[in-house]
């Protein structure tokens, strides 16, 4: 969409937020959500020349084209595929909170990779787009659902990617994302994890992640709570921010709550809810407030379509 009288962009990408890990599925499971960043290329520029306009989330930090993640990813993808790196003017309208565990940086990675193919006019298959996006991001659990949509299971061995898209969460199940007013950097959240885990904890996670995938595929939503139990990362990361542990344990007891988890590496907490979401969402924010942190929340659905491209008139 554009202002009346404004020039229609050449390409506009509507790229969804994602919630990764979903408890037991560390670096493996992820789901696209109905909250979006929009990236538009309004004009092409000479090779290597880039300009950016960022509005909304991150508008103070992300204006510099040289350090903009979309531009950096675009250049890397062009290099990977041997494409000429045409410059462009990029407009980013960001609604996804930055560094809160809702896959904001993954939207930039997916946009950069997708733009490389679009601008060069190359029809690159989804699997190859995702291989390069995962190579850049380092893990697949955000970028795969971000591009492909829905709920995805991904395996990445450092060079090759395999993924399966499961049925989307039904529309009468909601994902409440309670977002506290501070940032956790993925690197810090990874540093707190142990080098190794006891064998019984590894077995615990294999069985629970398997149960979660099977339950999801069969629509056994009653098993989400158990299937999302985790011993690899959440017990460590929930201590990184006030309210994390309490939301994991207390909110899951709510009668409308099917499951709770840390979204990505946090600090956003998610609850999968059946029924009215207001009371439960307010309770999640009250727990953050009790820990001295302001917060707000989103009530979202699973985005089945993933990244959507609109082409303007050249």
């Amino acid at each position: 969409m554009t202002r009346r009288g404004a020039v229609s962009p050449l390409f506009s990408l509507k790229v969804p937020a994602t919630t990764a890990n979903l408890g037991s599925g560390f670096d493996t499971l992820g789901m696209a959500l109905t909250l979006y960043n929009i990236f538009s290329v309004s004009r092409l520029l000479p090779e290597g020349e880039f300009t950016c306009e960022v509005s909304g989330e991150g508008m103070d930090e992300l204006q510099d084209a040289r350090s903009n993640m979309v531009v950096k990813t675009y250049l890397r993808a062009c290099q990977e595929w041997g494409l000429p790196p045409r410059g462009f003017h990029l407009e980013s309208c960001n609604a996804i909170p930055l560094n809160r565990g809702l896959g904001s940086s993954s939207t930039a990675v997916v946009a950069g990779v997708r733009l490389a193919a679009l601008i060069a006019g190359r029809d690159i298959p989804e699997a190859e787009l995702l291989r390069v996006a995962t190579l850049i991001e380092g893990h697949p659990d955000n970028v795969v659902p971000c591009l492909a949509g829905g709920m995805t299971v991904s395996c990445w061995d450092g060079t090759s990617l395999r993924y399966v898209k499961l049925p989307a969460l039904p529309d009468d199940l909601y994902v409440v994302a309670a977002v506290p007013d501070f940032q956790v950097h993925t690197e810090d959240a990874r540093r707190i994890l142990p080098e190794s885990v006891p064998f019984k904890d590894a077995v615990f996670n294999v069985s629970h992640a398997s149960l979660l995938c099977a339950a999801w595929a069969m629509g056994r939503w009653d098993l989400l709570r158990v299937g999302m139990d985790d011993r690899l990362h959440q017990p460590h990361r929930a201590r990184l921010f006030p309210g994390g542990e309490e939301i994991l344990t207390r909110i899951r007891q709510h009668p409308d709550c099917l499951a709770t988890a840390i979204s990505g590496s946090g600090p956003t907490m998610i609850a999968i809810v059946k029924g009215p979401a207001g009371q439960l969402s307010s309770e999640m924010c009250r727990i953050f407030t009790a820990g001295g942190v302001a917060s707000h929340f989103f009530v979202l659905n699973c985005s089945a379509s993933g990244t959507v491209v609109e082409r303007g008139q050249a």
Partner: protein, 180 residues
């Protein structure tokens, strides 16, 4: 400074933000028509200026209608082509209403506003959204002629603050303005 001041605290509001609405004619009309059809009361409407042809639109709703307004706002957001909708329930609105002499408005308004915000800051109440309006008085307000013969106007300032600091903010403002 001012002859009469009233201060009130509203703990029963929630704050909704429609994020990244397309900046085209008719969007706001569609949103407020939909809210009106459901009899939802809306207060303190604020539209942020953004680039890229999109803008955020926020407003206050009543807490007791939370379960009803969440799906309604989600539906409106999707229909209007917004990027999403967020809600904040841990907020409160502090309203300061003061009478200022029309002829002294230019000098007194900035002083009064500074006093409100510095008082809230010293009480640890960070102001997240500010809205101010003028009413009454015998002077023109923007393009509108004088509303009355009164030599005074009413200045109303609404501040959205965290629910946890709202009581401290209210007490500090009452002390600062000498309101019981």
């Amino acid at each position: 400074m001012n002859s009469r001041v009233k201060i009130a605290l509203d703990r029963d509001c929630i704050h909704a933000v429609l994020l990244g609405l397309p900046n085209v004619p008719g969007v706001a009309a569609g949103i407020f028509s939909a809210l009106s059809e459901r009899g939802v009361s809306v207060d303190m409407i604020t539209q942020n200026t953004m680039r890229g042809g999109r803008s955020d639109l926020s407003f206050l709703l009543r807490r007791d209608r939370l379960e009803e307004v969440i799906p309604l706002c989600r539906e409106i957001s999707a229909r209007a082509g917004a990027q999403g909708v967020s809600f904040a329930t841990e907020v409160a609105a502090i309203t300061v209403r003061m009478e200022v002499r029309t002829e002294a408005r230019a000098a007194e308004m900035p002083r009064a506003l500074a006093k409100i915000f510095s008082t809230l800051a010293s009480a640890g109440a960070n102001v997240e959204i500010i809205n101010s309006t003028l009413s009454g008085g015998n002077g023109a307000q923007g393009p509108f002629p004088a509303e009355s013969e009164s030599p005074c106007i009413w200045v109303t300032v609404v501040c959205i603050v965290s629910l946890t600091r709202a009581e401290e903010g209210l007490t500090a403002l009452r002390e600062a303005f000498g309101v019981c």
